[in-house]
């Protein structure tokens, strides 16, 4: 039975509402140095059981989905397994010959993405791994297909990632081979940030559609050679100054379920061997005998 509003609205209700509203606005105005520790404290205390349950639920769903696939793969693998030792030995020898490190070595942590229902999902992501697993702030986060973002906050068991779709995200990038450099950012105004921009490309350089773009290693956060995306076309140009290109991203943060968080040890190194994005040898015009 609907009851008259006069019974419910009291001064205490209004005061509680105004107090909560003011506290919300204070939270919005907090500087990053304050809001990050507060958020981390909440994640470590009130949210800890919820995140643990959510992580377990995600894992069980993953296991359920993988069961059928794994059964099919198991049969195929059993056949292929007989050839593995021989291929492995050959592969190791070839890599040693080429002086390439084994792909990524052990310098990364795998983490599950705990997608949330909020509007910020896809801009920031919660990972089911944290400091205890070896994740540190500013660690690069990648998916098998390419760049996802970087870690901005770390708790003992979880961490928060700023994805490349975030308006504040920037990364130095280059065309494979290190000939042309620019800065990558999310393309504002596109649906859920599904494309990105390569800004600051010198006016004298032009990039054809389909050109792969990778991180340049400048800035010290992202190692050189992580695939960022491919050129879709030119977006704008400032006459005689610079061009901006539209990129199709290599990885969509909203769609990834697992990521690799690189350790600081690799942050100053190059990942070109791991992603097979090594620049081609310069063409000297000489023909080998």
């Amino acid at each position: 039975m609907p009851i008259g509003a006069e019974r419910y609205g009291s001064r205490a209700d209004t005061l509680a509402f105004v107090a909560c509203l003011v506290l919300s606005l204070v939270a919005l105005a907090l500087p990053e140095s304050l809001r990050m520790p507060i958020a981390a404290a909440l994640r470590r205390t009130a949210l800890l059981p919820a995140v643990a349950i959510e992580s377990q639920a995600s894992a069980s769903r993953e296991q359920r989905q993988n069961t059928i696939l794994l059964r099919a793969e198991r049969d195929s693998l059993a056949l292929a397994a007989s050839q593995v030792p021989e291929l492995e030995a050959e592969n190791t020898q070839l890599r040693a010959l080429l002086k390439l490190r084994a792909r990524l070595g052990t310098g990364f942590v795998t983490a599950e993405v705990l997608h949330q229902t909020g509007l910020t999902d896809g801009l920031t992501m919660l990972l089911g791994a944290g400091r205890r697993q070896g994740i540190a702030p500013l660690s690069p986060v990648i998916a098998p297909s390419g760049l996802v973002g970087m870690v901005v906050a770390v708790d003992p068991h979880t961490s928060v990632v700023m994805a490349w779709t975030h308006p504040d995200f920037r990364a130095s990038a280059m065309v494979e081979g290190g000939k042309i450099f620019g800065v990558v950012a999310a393309r504002r105004g596109e649906t859920a940030g599904e494309v990105m921009e390569l800004r600051g490309v010198p006016y004298r350089d032009s990039l054809p559609a389909g050109t792969p773009v990778v991180t340049s290693g400048l800035g010290g956060v992202f190692p050189r050679g992580i695939p960022v995306g491919t050129v879709l076309g030119m977006l704008s140009e400032s006459a005689g100054w610079e061009r901006t290109y539209l990129l199709r991203p290599a990885a969509h943060p909203a769609q990834v379920t697992h990521v690799l968080v690189l350790s600081a040890r690799l942050a100053g190194d190059s990942l070109e061997p791991a992603f097979d994005t090594l620049p081609a040898a310069p063409d000297t015009g000489e023909v080998e005998p």
Binding site: P2, D13, F17, C20, A40, A57, Q116, G118
Partner: protein, 165 residues
């Protein structure tokens, strides 16, 4: 102070909704348009309580939501405070055990929450706001409203007898 049985029943329904959010949602609805069971719990609580209690509950739920994505810390607290307070007032004009009214109410609350959160995070000028408010938010609001209707169908007897807090 002795806790009444209807209060316990309401608390049990809210606990079920929270469990659904953190256990059922990741296991069954992993996609982008998964129902927001926490919002349903907040609305079910707020519409059966005083506006002040709805506002405080909204603020606390929002603060915890903000903790997961701290780059817009405070935006969810701001939006859910208003939604919780408004829901507390709306019980004067809404029949909380009517399925259609509940569906429309939850849909509207979810969409308004997104609108307020976008405004609070200063994202209304972004070109993607149209897609967010006209496509993505209504889709999420629809699944959330469906979850609210299912919850009401399952626990109608318990919720009907829930007291005004």
């Amino acid at each position: 102070m002795k806790v009444q049985a209807p209060t316990l029943r309401l608390a049990a329904v809210l606990a079920v909704l929270l469990a659904a959010h953190f256990w059922l949602r990741p296991a069954v609805f992993p996609g982008r348009f998964a129902p927001d069971f926490v919002l349903v719990a907040l609305l079910f609580f707020a519409i059966r309580s005083r506006p002040g209690a709805g506002a405080v509950a909204g603020f606390l739920v929002g603060l915890l939501t903000d903790a997961v994505g701290p780059t817009t810390f405070g935006a969810a607290a701001f939006s859910l405070t208003i939604v919780g307070y408004a829901a507390g007032w709306l019980k004067a004009v809404v029949f909380p055990d009517n399925l259609l009214v509940t569906a429309v109410f939850v849909f509207a609350a979810s969409w308004v929450r997104d609108l307020l959160e976008l405004a609070a995070s200063n994202a209304l000028r972004s070109g993607a706001v149209g897609t967010q408010l006209l496509v993505l938010s209504p889709a999420t609001a629809l699944s959330t409203a469906a979850a609210a209707v299912v919850t009401l169908l399952l626990f109608r007897g318990w919720l009907r007898s829930a007291p005004a807090l």
